[in-house]
Amino acid sequence: MKARIVTANRLSDGAVVYLDAAGDWVDSIVEAGVAEDGETAEALLAVATTAEQALRVVGPYLTDVAVEDGRPRPLGTREIIRAAGPTVAGAAIREGDERDDAKEASAA
């Protein structure tokens, strides 16, 4: 079984977030809590789907990752783009946006 993490969209701004080992939501996939087996994965998802969590995130789900140097890496085009932000080199996206910088750093 592939390693898995839990991801969702943050309620407040729809941003992509990941559940870390402590049960907090983080912006960067490298900090996500990794489940190596089915039981851990289900437990992780259970933490994410409480009513309390519904005040923080929308639609949490499990997704496969590759693990390199102990850090999770997204698999599949969709999750890669979720982790990195839009890939388009458009002049329209304002430079210096904090969140975009953080995403670029985590994808590197």
Partner: protein
Amino acid sequence: MYRYDEYDSTLVAERARQFRGQVARRLSGELTEEQFRPLRLMNGLYLQLHAYMLRIAIPYGTLSSRQLRKLAEIARRYDKGYGHFTTRQNLQFNWPRLADVPAILDELATVQMHAIQTSGNCIRNVTADQFAGAAADEVEDPRVYSEIIRQWSTLHPEFSFLPRKFKIAVTGAESDRAAVQVHDIGLRLRRNGDGEVGFEVLVGGGLGRTPVIGKTIREFLPKPHLLSYLEAILRTYNMLGRRDNLFKARIKILVNATGVDKFRDLVEEEWSHIRDGALTLPEAEIARIRAHFAPPPYEELTGDPPEHAAARRRDPDFALWARTNVVAHKRPGYAIATISLKPTGGVPGDVTAEQMEAVAALADRYSFGEIRVTHEQNLVLAHVRQADLHALWQALRQQGLATGNAGLISDIICCPGLDYCNLANARSIPVAQRISQRFADLERQHDIGALKIKISGCINACGHHHVGHIGILGVDKHGEEFYQVTLGGSADDSAAIGKIVGPAFSAGDIVAAVETIVETYLAQRRAGETFNATLARVGLAPFKEKLYAAD
């Protein structure tokens, strides 16, 4: 343009206030996401890949400069400084925060705008020809009727829970620029034998998973019957449309399953009960709405003033831009200018706040303060004096808005795709950008001539790929992005659904494939032959041969 009366203003303000309450209850937990989701969709608020997306209605694509300035302000204050114009003449913001959306709706309400019915199973934005009220070939301004239909369909109590979304387009010219044949209902204004103006009514057109060309169920519908007849169609659909399968719920499926003649009979039967009743449109009411679309205070000018011809002679870049981006106006001395939102390598349809403000100022200066959004994701200034075109073009150049590619190969229609959209299977924007860059040379583009490329990131076809001369559909093949190509589509009077040319191309190969298709066309075409005409004459074989030769 149409101005809200007290009723309209109250409705929009109330709706914004209502949504503010709904957001508060979602954030506090009083509403679950399941309860909140349909409510936020009723205000055009989607949750996409990276963020919420707010789709703002731009009725029949017409904006005042004041409204465009407000959109720029919202882009700066609440979003990332840009917006995206869509294939239904609406605007999307890609990064609003949930808690800010009520404030955004309040701001929109101050300029008579909203996000009502831009999502959900209801009647959506009623679109129209972007040259409405200005085109030389116009029978009547279609926006008058788009507005009438908008009022009838807004919060219509019977049609708020249709089997699926419902899209209506109206065209008023001999040449259809509103793609009426691929809408759930398409309306064409035309004259009958007695010179009376009425509507040809088409139903069951659409794109998406099952593209269909609409069918005429009524050749001529007199104006007073417009709303009662539409009501009969919607009632028939509401009653009989499928609700068991999301992918079979549009009216096109119903018309196909029932057969167009039987469907017509059903509509006429329903109509027999309600025609000549409360929904009858008196001429006085049409006149009242028409007054909002009165022609601007044109000057008395001579056509083709010498300064315009002189500017074209003097400035070859301007002349080239004018060739594609300027079309004839019905008034002498005026012209219709298209502002391309497809700069080389740019994101099709995206505009920065600064550009929006510049266009608003140019609209005030050169076009009576009015801007149009086209379903091909460009903007139009519809009433520019020919003598002002050169100055307009120079000002547009300052803002990167003077790409002279309207209708050429780099004037690509493209959905947001997997870079933004939750529904997508593949990215679409980078493909558009790379094609645009490959064909950047304007001389080459002119040599190729009119060629519409349309790109969708999934089968929902928001990029209208089925009706592109070259259509590109992003698909997921074993977790990788591939692109299926169709040829011969068209959204104009000779509407057609494109045919698949063969196996899909990888992301690495798609641009070369497009180039091969173009080269094949150029090799095969006879003098003056359009892409579709050449394709009709020679068939797919020469294209397949060149594309898959190495296989």
